[in-house]
Amino acid sequence: MSELPNYTFKDFASDQEVRWCPGCGDYVILRAMQKALPMMGRRREDFVFVSGIGCSSRFPYYMNTYGFHGIHGRAPAIATGVKLANPKLSVWVITGDGDGLAIGGNHMIHAIRRNIDLNIILFNNKIYGLTKGQFSPTSDIGQKTKSSPYGNTQRPFNFGELAIGSAGQFYARVPDNNPNDMADIFVAAEKHHGTSVVEVLQNCVIFNDGAFDSMVDKSVREDMLLYLKQGEKMIFGKEKNKGIRFNARQLEAVTIGENGITEDDILVHDATDPNPSMHFMLTQLQYPLPVGVIRSVDSSTFEELVDTQVSASVQKSKFKSVDDLLFSGETYQV
């Protein structure tokens, strides 16, 4: 194998014209991905991007890697076949809140449950974009959309809860206006051994503009977001004077120096804790909104278990050719 080329983001851009709406959050994700891939130490031909249907799912066409634009909701299933057929590949699933959580919800939870080493990037814009503005499984109660003109009456999924509830071992959340953090998280997802799930809070400029602004807009995000860092205290706020403590069996945002609260009361983030309870609570926290790698626990992967078992069977087998099987056991002569 020749030496790894010195890739830049340009090496991962395909010759196809990008057709998302101007101002769409997807552009940031595309750029962050093209920036992240050269940092992963892998060859370009080993990347495979698999998608379903929706705005997000056009993504593979814009990447100069192997790509498979699948059918609605089925990307995790297609990607599972790719990964089992060749576990050495770095396989990515690009999906959205409709594709991944409505029509493809079943494949999503089972991929996560098996802990197959896929990197699943879910673009959550809380709306159906490509079909022009219906509510999605992450739309808020009361949200007015084309198919809910009087307000959405369906309770939403919190994807973090769903991922961890599906026995997920890696879950990260990142807003779409921070390409550097996003690229770092993509690198972390790729390094993680097992299913990595990244939820991108993505703005749809046409049908749900500003859906996350109250939390992620540059003017408020220092105060509204909790940037989680492994091994560091859960401190947030422009003044770095606020933090999260565990009180009355729940997480609570507090100000250091008020009501006798000191830095010692503030929790330390440990994404690697096998016990998912704290991670689960973090996915539920509304204020501040935790972003970054919430959970990252190393455990054996599906394709490793398959590969180990199959290799051992091949080693042990007395059958070297199918002929040996055909002529084995109860045969007789005529």
């Binding site: 031909e45 297609i78 199918v322 099987l325 005529v334």
Partner: protein
Amino acid sequence: MSNDGHMVAEHTEQAKIKLDHVVIRFAGDSGDGMQLTGSQFSDTSAMLGNDIATFPNYPAEIRAPEGSVYGVSGFQVHIGEVEISTPGDDVDVLIAMNPAALKTNFSAVPKGKTIIVDIDEFTSKNLTRAGYDQNPLDDGSLDSYVIIKAPITQLSRETIKDMGLDNTSMNRTRNMFALGMVFWMFSRPLDYTIKFLEKKFGNKPNIFEANVKVLKAGYHYAETLELLPSAFTVLPAKMTEGTYRIIMGNTATAWGFLAAAENSKKQLFLGSYPITPASDILHELSAHQHFGVVTFQAEDEIAGVCSALGAAFTGDLAITTTSGPGLALKSEAIGLAVMTELPIIIVDVQRGGPSTGLPTKTEQADLLQAMYGRNGECPVIVVAPSTPANCFDFAYEASRLAMEHMTPVILLSDGYIANGSAPWRIRSIKDMQPINPAPSPEPEAAADWMPYLRDPETLARQWALPGMAGFEHRIGGLEKEDFTGHISYDPENHEHMVKRRAEKVKRVENHIPEQQIDGAQSGDLLVVGWGGTYGSLITAVKSLHEEGRSIGLAHFNYLNPLPRNTREIFTRFKKIVICELNMGQFATLLRSEFPEFQYLQYNKVQGLPFTVLELNEHFSGLLG
């Protein structure tokens, strides 16, 4: 054990009626072990050189209430010294383990034939459960049959009463008593079954011993029973010399894929979701992961086919297995395989439909679904095996066609041949037609390479696999520009691509054999069939042809595209009758493909195979 062979030797000295073939049906509660009993009998017969055909008939309920008619499970064996192509129509010997088994199977036994019943089970409670107002053994309704009333339960229990077994274990040996009786009647040795029991109960010596004792008790009982009207003997069939084994259709299908993987040097990948009657293929391939097979039991049917498609994109020989309802669920993904021009094989082991239908019964009503059940103009190759043994050949052939032509193939098996078994003459896989999958591009071709570059003859595109440097490309369900593979909404290009995909499948006709006719090569009546009905059709056509009638059989294994000489064959006969276990789906296809012919139809939709008798009568009528 050695004196078992001796018993046969003694037995053969007695007077016997010689038969060229005989049909035996074992029927009892689904928990009575009838499938095992029947398969022991058929395997033993095959070892003696008989040709055999079997047909299990079991309820969808795993354990229906004991003694009820819907809990009856049956296993029919047809053995012969002549070539046997079907499990038989009329039952010569019925073994009914209880009243419900008698009630549900009685109509298959012609007058004068033999019925063995376990008299101990004909209690008033069981009679009521089976829906009998009075005991059929007493009311004279069975007077025209040879009825053998054997106290099977009582004698089985008596035989092993001192072994300290519990009630359930004791009762479970009853099927061995019945098997022993039938072994004696047909001069079969016991050693094969004793060996089998040893393997099955190797770690439970007590149970093993009990079963052998009861088996022998049944054998001796039959020997000494004065009521047994006659003993039968069936001599070995005249079959082509070679090494044989008994194989079930689903096993043969699985092994055909194993052979195709080895001969094409591909890893075999199966993505599947359990469904009756296809699950045995999943079980069989899972048991053979020592050949490097990866079997993935997916979360649903759609994930099964989609994972196969992902594996095909990555260069595996990729298959998915299902039955009718699952094929419906997979249809969108099969469309994606057509669009991306990737080779996958979809096995549909057909069952009675629509909807959940008759899960454990057979039917051929998925043909039009296989042909057309997708959105858009979406042609695929469709092939159908016609016997349990040639499930092997057509699984292999489906793999060859898929990978050489880069297109999905649907393999239409059915519950009848999938669960049926027959002797199979084994050939080395080295002697099979080689498989040359569409090539991957050479590294030096990278500069000018395009994903939809085609082989000028087959129109197959090249198979560039993730991991190959310089061939990074994107495929997907959106319409693609030919050659470049770029997304294209261009009207002219779309029509061009629709025609290309159709032409690619059509050209497969140059790579498959011509259609053969059995019997008369031209004349009065051409019988047309396809898939799993071959056994019944060939038996009926052969017997009429041997009587000197002008009748031939064109039995199709290649359904799309059809063999090149199909039209020419049809011109040779005055009448054409298409026989199918559906309402006339192949007839519909042929009418649209070759409208110049008049097609008669013979259809049956009862979840059951054709009987040779009904075919004979029908064909005789048409021949006039």
